[in-house]
Protein backbone atom coordinates (compact mmCIF):
# COMPACT_ATOMS: atom_id res chain seq x y z
CA UNK A 1 0.00 0.00 0.00
CA UNK A 2 2.90 2.33 0.87
CA UNK A 3 4.29 2.44 -2.60
CA UNK A 4 0.93 3.52 -4.01
CA UNK A 5 0.69 6.33 -1.46
CA UNK A 6 4.30 7.33 -2.18
CA UNK A 7 3.49 7.19 -5.87
CA UNK A 8 0.66 9.70 -5.41
CA UNK A 9 2.92 12.03 -3.42
CA UNK A 10 5.68 11.86 -6.03
CA UNK A 11 3.14 12.41 -8.79
CA UNK A 12 1.85 15.54 -7.06
CA UNK A 13 5.41 16.82 -6.63
CA UNK A 14 6.21 16.10 -10.29
CA UNK A 15 3.18 18.00 -11.53
CA UNK A 16 3.76 20.92 -9.19
CA UNK A 17 7.34 21.20 -10.45
CA UNK A 18 5.98 21.81 -13.99
CA UNK A 19 8.33 19.23 -15.41
CA UNK A 20 8.64 20.13 -19.13
CA UNK A 21 8.70 16.44 -20.15
CA UNK A 22 5.41 15.78 -18.41
CA UNK A 23 3.70 18.84 -19.82
CA UNK A 24 4.96 18.14 -23.33
CA UNK A 25 3.38 14.69 -23.11
CA UNK A 26 0.12 16.24 -21.89
CA UNK A 27 0.20 18.83 -24.67
CA UNK A 28 0.85 16.16 -27.36
CA UNK A 29 -2.07 14.09 -26.07
CA UNK A 30 -4.43 17.05 -26.09
CA UNK A 31 -3.23 18.18 -29.51
CA UNK A 32 -3.73 14.83 -31.28
CA UNK A 33 -7.00 14.11 -29.48
CA UNK A 34 -8.55 17.53 -30.07
CA UNK A 35 -7.56 17.50 -33.75
CA UNK A 36 -9.03 14.02 -34.23
CA UNK A 37 -12.24 14.95 -32.39
CA UNK A 38 -12.59 18.17 -34.38
CA UNK A 39 -12.20 16.35 -37.71
CA UNK A 40 -14.52 13.53 -36.60
CA UNK A 41 -17.14 16.10 -35.53
CA UNK A 42 -16.91 18.05 -38.77
CA UNK A 43 -17.43 14.87 -40.76
CA UNK A 44 -19.50 12.80 -38.31
CA UNK A 45 -22.18 15.25 -37.17
CA UNK A 46 -23.47 16.06 -40.69
CA UNK A 47 -23.11 12.40 -41.69
CA UNK A 48 -25.07 11.23 -38.62
CA UNK A 49 -27.76 13.84 -39.32
CA UNK A 50 -27.96 12.80 -42.96
CA UNK A 51 -28.38 9.12 -42.09
CA UNK A 52 -30.97 9.95 -39.43
CA UNK A 53 -33.06 12.23 -41.65
CA UNK A 54 -32.92 10.32 -44.91
CA UNK A 55 -34.84 7.20 -45.80
CA UNK A 56 -32.81 4.87 -47.99
CA UNK A 57 -32.27 1.23 -48.70
CA UNK A 58 -29.75 -0.50 -46.48
CA UNK A 59 -30.11 2.02 -43.62
CA UNK A 60 -30.52 -0.71 -40.95
CA UNK A 61 -27.45 -2.53 -42.30
CA UNK A 62 -25.45 0.70 -42.18
CA UNK A 63 -26.52 1.22 -38.57
CA UNK A 64 -25.38 -2.31 -37.66
CA UNK A 65 -22.01 -1.64 -39.32
CA UNK A 66 -21.65 1.66 -37.44
CA UNK A 67 -22.50 -0.06 -34.16
CA UNK A 68 -19.89 -2.72 -34.88
CA UNK A 69 -17.30 -0.06 -35.71
CA UNK A 70 -17.90 1.56 -32.32
CA UNK A 71 -16.66 -1.65 -30.73
CA UNK A 72 -13.60 -1.89 -32.99
CA UNK A 73 -10.49 -2.59 -30.84
CA UNK A 74 -7.98 0.25 -31.01
CA UNK A 75 -5.11 -2.11 -31.78
CA UNK A 76 -6.97 -3.25 -34.90
CA UNK A 77 -7.26 0.37 -36.06
CA UNK A 78 -3.61 0.82 -35.16
CA UNK A 79 -2.69 -2.28 -37.15
CA UNK A 80 -4.69 -1.20 -40.21
CA UNK A 81 -3.34 2.35 -39.87
CA UNK A 82 0.17 0.94 -39.76
CA UNK A 83 -0.52 -1.11 -42.91
CA UNK A 84 -1.75 1.99 -44.73
CA UNK A 85 0.84 4.48 -43.45
CA UNK A 86 3.99 2.34 -43.53
CA UNK A 87 6.34 2.90 -46.46
CA UNK A 88 4.98 -0.08 -48.37
CA UNK A 89 1.38 0.97 -47.68
CA UNK A 90 -0.88 2.98 -50.04
CA UNK A 91 -0.47 6.16 -47.93
CA UNK A 92 3.24 5.64 -47.23
CA UNK A 93 4.22 8.62 -49.39
CA UNK A 94 2.53 10.96 -46.92
CA UNK A 95 5.16 9.98 -44.31
CA UNK A 96 2.66 10.17 -41.47
CA UNK A 97 3.79 7.06 -39.60
CA UNK A 98 5.34 7.87 -36.20
CA UNK A 99 4.13 11.49 -36.34
CA UNK A 100 1.45 13.28 -34.28
CA UNK A 101 -0.55 13.72 -37.52
CA UNK A 102 -0.44 9.93 -38.02
CA UNK A 103 -1.82 9.41 -34.51
CA UNK A 104 -4.56 11.99 -35.19
CA UNK A 105 -5.54 10.16 -38.36
CA UNK A 106 -5.88 6.88 -36.46
CA UNK A 107 -7.81 8.56 -33.66
CA UNK A 108 -10.09 10.17 -36.27
CA UNK A 109 -10.95 6.67 -37.54
CA UNK A 110 -11.68 5.66 -33.96
CA UNK A 111 -13.83 8.71 -33.15
CA UNK A 112 -15.82 8.91 -36.39
CA UNK A 113 -18.22 5.96 -35.84
CA UNK A 114 -18.87 7.16 -32.28
CA UNK A 115 -19.77 10.69 -33.43
CA UNK A 116 -21.88 9.42 -36.38
CA UNK A 117 -23.73 6.83 -34.31
CA UNK A 118 -24.44 9.02 -31.30
CA UNK A 119 -25.51 11.96 -33.50
CA UNK A 120 -27.81 9.61 -35.38
CA UNK A 121 -29.27 8.35 -32.10
CA UNK A 122 -29.60 11.90 -30.77
CA UNK A 123 -31.56 13.04 -33.84
CA UNK A 124 -33.72 9.93 -33.96
CA UNK A 125 -34.57 10.55 -30.31
CA UNK A 126 -35.86 14.07 -31.00
CA UNK A 127 -39.57 14.87 -31.09
CA UNK A 128 -40.90 13.82 -34.54
CA UNK A 129 -42.98 17.04 -34.65
CA UNK A 130 -39.71 19.00 -34.91
CA UNK A 131 -39.03 17.83 -38.48
CA UNK A 132 -42.67 18.36 -39.45
CA UNK A 133 -42.57 21.90 -38.00
CA UNK A 134 -39.37 22.74 -39.87
CA UNK A 135 -40.91 21.56 -43.13
CA UNK A 136 -44.16 23.40 -42.42
CA UNK A 137 -42.32 26.65 -41.82
CA UNK A 138 -40.78 26.30 -45.27
CA UNK A 139 -37.23 25.22 -44.45
CA UNK A 140 -35.07 23.71 -47.19
CA UNK A 141 -33.42 20.36 -46.32
CA UNK A 142 -30.19 22.14 -45.28
CA UNK A 143 -32.09 24.65 -43.13
CA UNK A 144 -34.04 21.76 -41.58
CA UNK A 145 -30.83 19.88 -40.72
CA UNK A 146 -29.27 22.97 -39.16
CA UNK A 147 -32.34 23.64 -37.03
CA UNK A 148 -32.60 20.00 -35.98
CA UNK A 149 -28.95 19.96 -34.93
CA UNK A 150 -29.54 23.17 -32.98
CA UNK A 151 -32.51 21.63 -31.19
CA UNK A 152 -30.48 18.51 -30.42
CA UNK A 153 -27.31 20.44 -29.60
CA UNK A 154 -26.91 19.02 -26.08
CA UNK A 155 -27.14 15.41 -27.22
CA UNK A 156 -24.81 16.15 -30.17
CA UNK A 157 -22.32 17.84 -27.82
CA UNK A 158 -22.49 14.76 -25.59
CA UNK A 159 -21.67 12.63 -28.66
CA UNK A 160 -18.56 14.74 -29.31
CA UNK A 161 -17.50 14.59 -25.66
CA UNK A 162 -17.87 10.80 -25.60
CA UNK A 163 -15.71 10.58 -28.75
CA UNK A 164 -13.08 12.85 -27.16
CA UNK A 165 -13.08 10.67 -24.04
CA UNK A 166 -12.53 7.60 -26.18
CA UNK A 167 -9.62 9.03 -28.18
CA UNK A 168 -7.74 10.65 -25.30
CA UNK A 169 -7.80 7.47 -23.24
CA UNK A 170 -6.82 4.94 -25.92
CA UNK A 171 -3.32 3.49 -26.15
CA UNK A 172 -3.22 1.04 -29.08
CA UNK A 173 -3.37 3.57 -31.92
CA UNK A 174 -1.00 6.04 -30.25
CA UNK A 175 1.51 3.25 -29.67
CA UNK A 176 1.34 1.69 -33.15
CA UNK A 177 1.05 4.85 -35.25
CA UNK A 178 3.04 7.18 -32.98
CA UNK A 179 5.80 4.84 -31.88
CA UNK A 180 6.01 6.47 -28.41
CA UNK A 181 8.95 8.70 -29.44
CA UNK A 182 10.07 10.87 -26.52
CA UNK A 183 9.54 14.57 -27.11
CA UNK A 184 7.65 13.94 -30.35
CA UNK A 185 4.85 11.38 -30.30
CA UNK A 186 4.74 10.30 -26.68
CA UNK A 187 1.21 10.70 -25.33
CA UNK A 188 -0.14 10.32 -21.80
CA UNK A 189 -1.38 6.77 -22.34
CA UNK A 190 1.76 5.50 -24.08
CA UNK A 191 3.92 7.18 -21.42
CA UNK A 192 1.89 5.59 -18.61
CA UNK A 193 2.33 2.16 -20.23
CA UNK A 194 6.08 2.69 -20.74
CA UNK A 195 6.90 4.27 -17.37
CA UNK A 196 4.93 1.65 -15.45
CA UNK A 197 6.76 -1.11 -17.34
CA UNK A 198 10.06 0.58 -16.40
CA UNK A 199 9.02 0.78 -12.74
CA UNK A 200 8.70 4.59 -12.84
CA UNK A 201 5.46 4.39 -11.00
CA UNK A 202 5.18 8.07 -9.94
CA UNK A 203 5.42 9.44 -13.51
CA UNK A 204 2.77 6.96 -14.64
CA UNK A 205 0.54 8.04 -11.76
CA UNK A 206 1.14 11.74 -12.44
CA UNK A 207 0.05 11.30 -16.04
CA UNK A 208 -2.88 9.18 -14.93
CA UNK A 209 -3.98 12.02 -12.66
CA UNK A 210 -3.73 14.53 -15.52
CA UNK A 211 -5.74 12.18 -17.72
CA UNK A 212 -8.41 11.93 -15.05
CA UNK A 213 -8.40 15.72 -14.59
CA UNK A 214 -8.96 16.24 -18.32
CA UNK A 215 -11.85 13.73 -18.25
CA UNK A 216 -13.26 15.44 -15.16
CA UNK A 217 -12.96 18.88 -16.76
CA UNK A 218 -14.67 17.82 -19.98
CA UNK A 219 -17.50 16.05 -18.18
CA UNK A 220 -17.90 18.96 -15.78
CA UNK A 221 -18.31 21.29 -18.75
CA UNK A 222 -20.89 18.96 -20.26
CA UNK A 223 -22.77 18.84 -16.97
CA UNK A 224 -22.86 22.64 -16.75
CA UNK A 225 -24.02 22.82 -20.36
CA UNK A 226 -26.80 20.29 -19.75
CA UNK A 227 -27.90 22.06 -16.56
CA UNK A 228 -28.18 25.36 -18.36
CA UNK A 229 -30.27 23.96 -21.21
CA UNK A 230 -33.67 24.79 -19.73
Amino acid sequence: MDYIFKGFLDAGRLMASFDPDVWFIVWTSLQVSLLATLLASLAGVPLGALIALRRFRGKPILQVILNTMMALPTVVIGLLGYAFLSRRGPLGALELLYTPAGISLGLFVLALPTVVNLTLAAIQGLDPRLIVTCRLLGATPIQQTWKILREGRFAVTAAIVVAFGRVISEVGIAMMLGGNIRGFTRTMTTAIALETAKGEFELGLALGMVLLSVALGVNGMLFLLQRGKT
Binding site: L130, L136, G138, E151
Partner: protein, 331 residues
Protein backbone atom coordinates in the same frame (compact mmCIF):
# COMPACT_ATOMS: atom_id res chain seq x y z
CA UNK B 1 -64.07 32.54 -57.79
CA UNK B 2 -60.30 32.01 -57.72
CA UNK B 3 -59.52 28.53 -56.51
CA UNK B 4 -56.87 27.90 -53.87
CA UNK B 5 -56.93 24.13 -54.36
CA UNK B 6 -58.24 21.78 -57.00
CA UNK B 7 -57.90 18.10 -56.21
CA UNK B 8 -58.74 15.32 -58.65
CA UNK B 9 -58.71 11.54 -58.20
CA UNK B 10 -56.54 11.70 -55.10
CA UNK B 11 -55.55 8.52 -53.31
CA UNK B 12 -53.21 8.42 -50.33
CA UNK B 13 -51.94 5.45 -48.30
CA UNK B 14 -49.46 5.31 -45.42
CA UNK B 15 -48.84 1.63 -46.11
CA UNK B 16 -50.86 -0.32 -48.67
CA UNK B 17 -54.50 0.36 -47.90
CA UNK B 18 -55.56 3.89 -48.96
CA UNK B 19 -56.66 6.03 -46.03
CA UNK B 20 -57.92 8.88 -48.20
CA UNK B 21 -59.70 8.82 -51.55
CA UNK B 22 -61.08 12.02 -53.00
CA UNK B 23 -62.45 12.08 -56.51
CA UNK B 24 -62.92 15.85 -56.70
CA UNK B 25 -62.51 18.78 -54.32
CA UNK B 26 -62.29 22.49 -54.90
CA UNK B 27 -61.51 25.05 -52.21
CA UNK B 28 -61.85 28.71 -53.09
CA UNK B 29 -59.63 31.65 -52.19
CA UNK B 30 -60.93 33.32 -49.03
CA UNK B 31 -63.17 30.39 -48.21
CA UNK B 32 -63.48 28.97 -44.69
CA UNK B 33 -63.92 25.21 -44.83
CA UNK B 34 -64.61 22.95 -41.87
CA UNK B 35 -63.53 19.31 -42.02
CA UNK B 36 -65.61 17.00 -39.87
CA UNK B 37 -65.61 13.29 -39.36
CA UNK B 38 -64.85 10.66 -36.76
CA UNK B 39 -61.33 9.73 -35.65
CA UNK B 40 -59.45 8.01 -38.46
CA UNK B 41 -61.70 9.46 -41.16
CA UNK B 42 -58.74 11.17 -42.85
CA UNK B 43 -59.16 14.79 -41.69
CA UNK B 44 -55.57 15.27 -40.51
CA UNK B 45 -54.20 13.38 -43.52
CA UNK B 46 -56.12 15.72 -45.82
CA UNK B 47 -54.74 18.75 -43.95
CA UNK B 48 -51.20 17.36 -44.33
CA UNK B 49 -51.77 16.91 -48.04
CA UNK B 50 -53.11 20.47 -48.32
CA UNK B 51 -49.97 21.64 -46.46
CA UNK B 52 -47.82 19.66 -48.94
CA UNK B 53 -46.34 17.61 -46.11
CA UNK B 54 -47.58 14.36 -47.62
CA UNK B 55 -47.58 13.54 -51.30
CA UNK B 56 -50.47 11.43 -52.54
CA UNK B 57 -49.60 8.29 -54.49
CA UNK B 58 -52.23 9.14 -57.09
CA UNK B 59 -54.09 12.20 -58.21
CA UNK B 60 -53.50 15.79 -59.15
CA UNK B 61 -53.37 18.87 -56.95
CA UNK B 62 -53.33 22.40 -58.31
CA UNK B 63 -52.54 25.26 -55.98
CA UNK B 64 -53.81 28.68 -57.07
CA UNK B 65 -54.16 27.38 -60.59
CA UNK B 66 -50.74 25.71 -60.89
CA UNK B 67 -50.05 21.98 -60.70
CA UNK B 68 -47.76 21.20 -57.77
CA UNK B 69 -44.55 19.35 -58.61
CA UNK B 70 -42.06 17.72 -56.22
CA UNK B 71 -39.52 20.42 -57.03
CA UNK B 72 -41.96 23.18 -55.98
CA UNK B 73 -42.66 21.82 -52.50
CA UNK B 74 -40.61 24.32 -50.48
CA UNK B 75 -42.05 27.23 -52.49
CA UNK B 76 -45.69 26.17 -52.07
CA UNK B 77 -45.19 25.26 -48.40
CA UNK B 78 -44.10 28.86 -47.80
CA UNK B 79 -47.57 30.03 -48.88
CA UNK B 80 -49.33 27.66 -46.47
CA UNK B 81 -49.32 27.60 -42.67
CA UNK B 82 -50.53 24.58 -40.73
CA UNK B 83 -51.21 24.77 -37.02
CA UNK B 84 -50.76 21.28 -35.61
CA UNK B 85 -53.12 19.98 -32.96
CA UNK B 86 -50.20 19.70 -30.58
CA UNK B 87 -47.71 22.23 -31.94
CA UNK B 88 -43.95 21.98 -31.50
CA UNK B 89 -42.16 25.05 -30.20
CA UNK B 90 -38.38 25.32 -30.49
CA UNK B 91 -36.15 25.43 -27.39
CA UNK B 92 -35.81 29.20 -27.53
CA UNK B 93 -37.78 32.35 -26.78
CA UNK B 94 -41.32 32.91 -28.06
CA UNK B 95 -40.07 35.73 -30.30
CA UNK B 96 -37.29 33.58 -31.83
CA UNK B 97 -39.88 30.89 -32.54
CA UNK B 98 -41.96 33.35 -34.54
CA UNK B 99 -39.00 35.00 -36.27
CA UNK B 100 -37.48 31.82 -37.73
CA UNK B 101 -40.14 31.28 -40.42
CA UNK B 102 -39.73 34.88 -41.58
CA UNK B 103 -35.94 34.55 -41.50
CA UNK B 104 -36.30 31.58 -43.90
CA UNK B 105 -38.31 33.79 -46.24
CA UNK B 106 -35.65 36.50 -46.19
CA UNK B 107 -37.77 39.08 -44.34
CA UNK B 108 -35.58 41.89 -42.97
CA UNK B 109 -35.00 41.58 -39.17
CA UNK B 110 -36.68 44.88 -38.23
CA UNK B 111 -39.77 44.12 -40.33
CA UNK B 112 -39.87 40.53 -39.05
CA UNK B 113 -39.73 41.68 -35.44
CA UNK B 114 -42.56 44.12 -36.04
CA UNK B 115 -44.67 41.40 -37.68
CA UNK B 116 -43.91 38.96 -34.83
CA UNK B 117 -44.97 41.45 -32.15
CA UNK B 118 -48.14 42.26 -34.11
CA UNK B 119 -48.98 38.54 -34.40
CA UNK B 120 -48.43 38.06 -30.65
CA UNK B 121 -50.71 41.00 -30.00
CA UNK B 122 -53.34 39.50 -32.30
CA UNK B 123 -53.47 36.22 -30.35
CA UNK B 124 -53.57 38.05 -27.02
CA UNK B 125 -50.01 37.25 -25.93
CA UNK B 126 -48.49 40.73 -25.85
CA UNK B 127 -45.43 40.82 -23.59
CA UNK B 128 -44.71 37.10 -24.09
CA UNK B 129 -41.89 37.65 -26.62
CA UNK B 130 -39.01 37.02 -24.24
CA UNK B 131 -40.60 34.08 -22.41
CA UNK B 132 -39.00 30.65 -22.91
CA UNK B 133 -41.38 28.92 -25.31
CA UNK B 134 -41.14 25.48 -23.69
CA UNK B 135 -42.35 26.80 -20.35
CA UNK B 136 -45.77 27.84 -21.66
CA UNK B 137 -49.05 26.05 -21.00
CA UNK B 138 -50.79 23.98 -23.72
CA UNK B 139 -53.21 26.79 -24.61
CA UNK B 140 -50.46 29.43 -24.68
CA UNK B 141 -48.27 27.18 -26.83
CA UNK B 142 -51.09 26.77 -29.31
CA UNK B 143 -51.55 30.54 -29.47
CA UNK B 144 -47.80 31.08 -29.98
CA UNK B 145 -47.93 28.55 -32.82
CA UNK B 146 -50.91 30.44 -34.25
CA UNK B 147 -48.95 33.70 -33.99
CA UNK B 148 -45.99 31.99 -35.73
CA UNK B 149 -48.34 30.96 -38.55
CA UNK B 150 -50.05 34.37 -38.82
CA UNK B 151 -46.76 36.29 -38.91
CA UNK B 152 -45.91 34.48 -42.16
CA UNK B 153 -48.97 36.05 -43.84
CA UNK B 154 -49.90 32.79 -45.57
CA UNK B 155 -52.32 32.48 -48.47
CA UNK B 156 -53.79 29.40 -46.78
CA UNK B 157 -54.15 28.74 -43.07
CA UNK B 158 -54.78 25.14 -42.02
CA UNK B 159 -55.81 24.43 -38.46
CA UNK B 160 -55.89 20.95 -36.94
CA UNK B 161 -58.32 20.90 -34.01
CA UNK B 162 -57.59 24.56 -33.20
CA UNK B 163 -60.00 24.78 -30.29
CA UNK B 164 -58.89 21.64 -28.46
CA UNK B 165 -56.64 23.24 -25.79
CA UNK B 166 -58.12 26.73 -25.76
CA UNK B 167 -60.35 28.34 -23.17
CA UNK B 168 -63.57 30.06 -24.21
CA UNK B 169 -61.95 33.49 -24.63
CA UNK B 170 -59.13 32.11 -26.80
CA UNK B 171 -61.67 30.20 -28.92
CA UNK B 172 -63.61 33.41 -29.50
CA UNK B 173 -60.40 35.25 -30.35
CA UNK B 174 -59.41 32.54 -32.84
CA UNK B 175 -62.83 32.65 -34.48
CA UNK B 176 -62.49 36.42 -34.90
CA UNK B 177 -58.97 36.03 -36.35
CA UNK B 178 -60.18 33.41 -38.82
CA UNK B 179 -63.08 35.62 -39.93
CA UNK B 180 -60.85 38.68 -40.27
CA UNK B 181 -58.18 36.77 -42.24
CA UNK B 182 -60.71 35.49 -44.68
CA UNK B 183 -62.77 38.66 -45.13
CA UNK B 184 -60.03 41.30 -45.04
CA UNK B 185 -57.08 39.44 -46.53
CA UNK B 186 -58.69 36.75 -48.66
CA UNK B 187 -56.89 33.98 -46.78
CA UNK B 188 -58.28 30.49 -47.28
CA UNK B 189 -58.86 28.73 -43.98
CA UNK B 190 -59.39 24.98 -43.59
CA UNK B 191 -59.85 23.53 -40.13
CA UNK B 192 -60.73 20.22 -38.54
CA UNK B 193 -62.77 19.95 -35.40
CA UNK B 194 -64.79 17.65 -33.24
CA UNK B 195 -66.84 20.60 -32.01
CA UNK B 196 -69.49 20.36 -34.68
CA UNK B 197 -71.36 23.46 -33.40
CA UNK B 198 -68.17 25.47 -34.11
CA UNK B 199 -68.16 24.39 -37.73
CA UNK B 200 -71.55 25.91 -38.33
CA UNK B 201 -70.57 29.16 -36.62
CA UNK B 202 -67.25 29.70 -38.41
CA UNK B 203 -67.21 27.79 -41.70
CA UNK B 204 -68.72 28.77 -45.02
CA UNK B 205 -68.79 25.15 -46.06
CA UNK B 206 -68.47 21.74 -44.46
CA UNK B 207 -66.63 18.74 -45.81
CA UNK B 208 -67.67 15.50 -44.19
CA UNK B 209 -65.15 12.70 -44.23
CA UNK B 210 -66.04 9.14 -43.50
CA UNK B 211 -63.46 6.36 -43.67
CA UNK B 212 -61.25 8.40 -45.94
CA UNK B 213 -63.99 9.43 -48.35
CA UNK B 214 -65.98 12.60 -48.72
CA UNK B 215 -69.64 12.02 -47.95
CA UNK B 216 -72.24 14.50 -49.13
CA UNK B 217 -74.35 15.09 -46.04
CA UNK B 218 -72.14 14.05 -43.22
CA UNK B 219 -72.21 10.85 -41.25
CA UNK B 220 -75.67 9.47 -40.68
CA UNK B 221 -76.78 8.76 -37.13
CA UNK B 222 -74.65 11.39 -35.41
CA UNK B 223 -75.83 11.85 -31.82
CA UNK B 224 -74.64 14.21 -29.10
CA UNK B 225 -74.47 12.93 -25.53
CA UNK B 226 -72.29 12.02 -22.59
CA UNK B 227 -70.13 9.07 -21.64
CA UNK B 228 -71.12 7.15 -18.52
CA UNK B 229 -69.99 4.07 -16.58
CA UNK B 230 -66.26 4.70 -17.11
CA UNK B 231 -66.75 5.22 -20.81
CA UNK B 232 -68.62 1.99 -21.47
CA UNK B 233 -72.01 3.63 -22.00
CA UNK B 234 -73.04 6.60 -24.14
CA UNK B 235 -76.21 8.41 -23.15
CA UNK B 236 -77.80 10.60 -25.84
CA UNK B 237 -80.57 11.57 -23.44
CA UNK B 238 -82.99 9.40 -25.39
CA UNK B 239 -81.16 6.13 -25.87
CA UNK B 240 -78.30 4.35 -24.15
CA UNK B 241 -75.57 2.87 -26.34
CA UNK B 242 -73.29 0.17 -24.94
CA UNK B 243 -69.68 0.59 -26.14
CA UNK B 244 -67.60 -2.47 -26.97
CA UNK B 245 -64.36 -0.64 -26.11
CA UNK B 246 -64.47 1.98 -23.31
CA UNK B 247 -63.89 5.51 -24.62
CA UNK B 248 -61.80 8.07 -22.70
CA UNK B 249 -63.65 11.07 -24.11
CA UNK B 250 -66.22 11.96 -26.69
CA UNK B 251 -69.28 14.15 -27.08
CA UNK B 252 -70.77 12.42 -30.10
CA UNK B 253 -71.34 8.94 -31.41
CA UNK B 254 -71.86 7.90 -34.98
CA UNK B 255 -73.64 4.70 -35.86
CA UNK B 256 -72.69 3.34 -39.27
CA UNK B 257 -75.97 2.61 -41.11
CA UNK B 258 -74.44 -0.46 -42.71
CA UNK B 259 -73.97 -1.99 -39.25
CA UNK B 260 -77.67 -1.78 -38.33
CA UNK B 261 -80.01 -4.77 -38.63
CA UNK B 262 -83.81 -4.55 -38.71
CA UNK B 263 -86.24 -7.24 -37.50
CA UNK B 264 -89.90 -7.04 -38.34
CA UNK B 265 -91.39 -8.54 -35.18
CA UNK B 266 -90.56 -5.57 -32.98
CA UNK B 267 -90.47 -7.76 -29.88
CA UNK B 268 -86.97 -8.60 -28.77
CA UNK B 269 -84.98 -5.98 -26.93
CA UNK B 270 -82.68 -8.08 -24.79
CA UNK B 271 -79.19 -8.00 -26.39
CA UNK B 272 -77.19 -4.78 -25.92
CA UNK B 273 -77.88 -1.99 -28.39
CA UNK B 274 -81.19 -3.46 -29.52
CA UNK B 275 -84.04 -0.98 -29.63
CA UNK B 276 -87.76 -1.08 -30.41
CA UNK B 277 -89.07 1.66 -32.62
CA UNK B 278 -91.46 2.68 -35.36
CA UNK B 279 -90.65 3.24 -39.00
CA UNK B 280 -90.76 6.96 -39.60
CA UNK B 281 -89.35 7.24 -43.09
CA UNK B 282 -88.91 5.03 -46.16
CA UNK B 283 -87.32 6.13 -49.41
CA UNK B 284 -85.69 4.45 -52.37
CA UNK B 285 -82.14 5.61 -53.21
CA UNK B 286 -80.77 3.92 -56.34
CA UNK B 287 -80.14 0.30 -55.35
CA UNK B 288 -81.01 0.72 -51.69
CA UNK B 289 -83.82 1.71 -49.37
CA UNK B 290 -83.27 4.33 -46.69
CA UNK B 291 -85.19 3.52 -43.54
CA UNK B 292 -85.58 5.99 -40.69
CA UNK B 293 -86.71 4.43 -37.42
CA UNK B 294 -87.71 6.34 -34.33
CA UNK B 295 -86.17 4.51 -31.36
CA UNK B 296 -86.05 7.62 -29.18
CA UNK B 297 -83.57 9.04 -31.69
CA UNK B 298 -84.12 8.91 -35.43
CA UNK B 299 -81.84 6.12 -36.61
CA UNK B 300 -81.13 5.67 -40.31
CA UNK B 301 -80.43 2.27 -41.83
CA UNK B 302 -79.98 1.14 -45.42
CA UNK B 303 -81.36 -2.06 -46.86
CA UNK B 304 -80.78 -3.53 -50.31
CA UNK B 305 -83.74 -2.81 -52.62
CA UNK B 306 -84.27 -6.54 -53.13
CA UNK B 307 -84.15 -7.39 -49.43
CA UNK B 308 -87.46 -9.03 -48.36
CA UNK B 309 -87.50 -6.91 -45.19
CA UNK B 310 -87.37 -3.68 -47.15
CA UNK B 311 -90.39 -4.84 -49.17
CA UNK B 312 -92.33 -5.63 -46.02
CA UNK B 313 -91.65 -2.38 -44.19
CA UNK B 314 -94.48 0.15 -43.85
CA UNK B 315 -94.59 3.55 -42.22
CA UNK B 316 -95.63 3.35 -38.56
CA UNK B 317 -94.69 -0.35 -38.34
CA UNK B 318 -93.07 -1.52 -35.08
CA UNK B 319 -89.63 -3.02 -35.64
CA UNK B 320 -86.53 -4.00 -33.68
CA UNK B 321 -83.25 -2.29 -34.50
CA UNK B 322 -79.99 -4.08 -33.64
CA UNK B 323 -76.75 -2.10 -33.77
CA UNK B 324 -73.58 -4.13 -34.29
CA UNK B 325 -70.64 -3.30 -31.94
CA UNK B 326 -68.31 -2.28 -34.78
CA UNK B 327 -70.86 0.16 -36.21
CA UNK B 328 -70.37 2.55 -33.29
CA UNK B 329 -67.68 5.27 -33.25
CA UNK B 330 -67.21 7.82 -30.50
CA UNK B 331 -66.18 11.31 -31.58
Amino acid sequence: MTLAYTIKDLSFAYTVEPVLRISELEIGRGEIVGLVGPNGSGKTTLLHILAFLETPQRGEITFFGRPVRQTDLVTVRRRVALLLQSPYLFHESVLSNILWGMHLRGVKPAKARQAALKALDLVGLQGFGHRYARSLSGGESQRVALARALALEPSVLLLDEPFSHMDRQAVQQTEEIVNRLCCDNGVTVVFTTHAIEKVHVVAHRLIHLWQGRMVPTGPENLFKGVLKNKGTLFDTGNILVQLENPAARGDYIVIDPSGIGIQLDGTGETPPNTYSGTVKGLSQENERVRVVIDVGEDVTAFLAAGDPISGALRLGMHVTVAVGPYAISVL
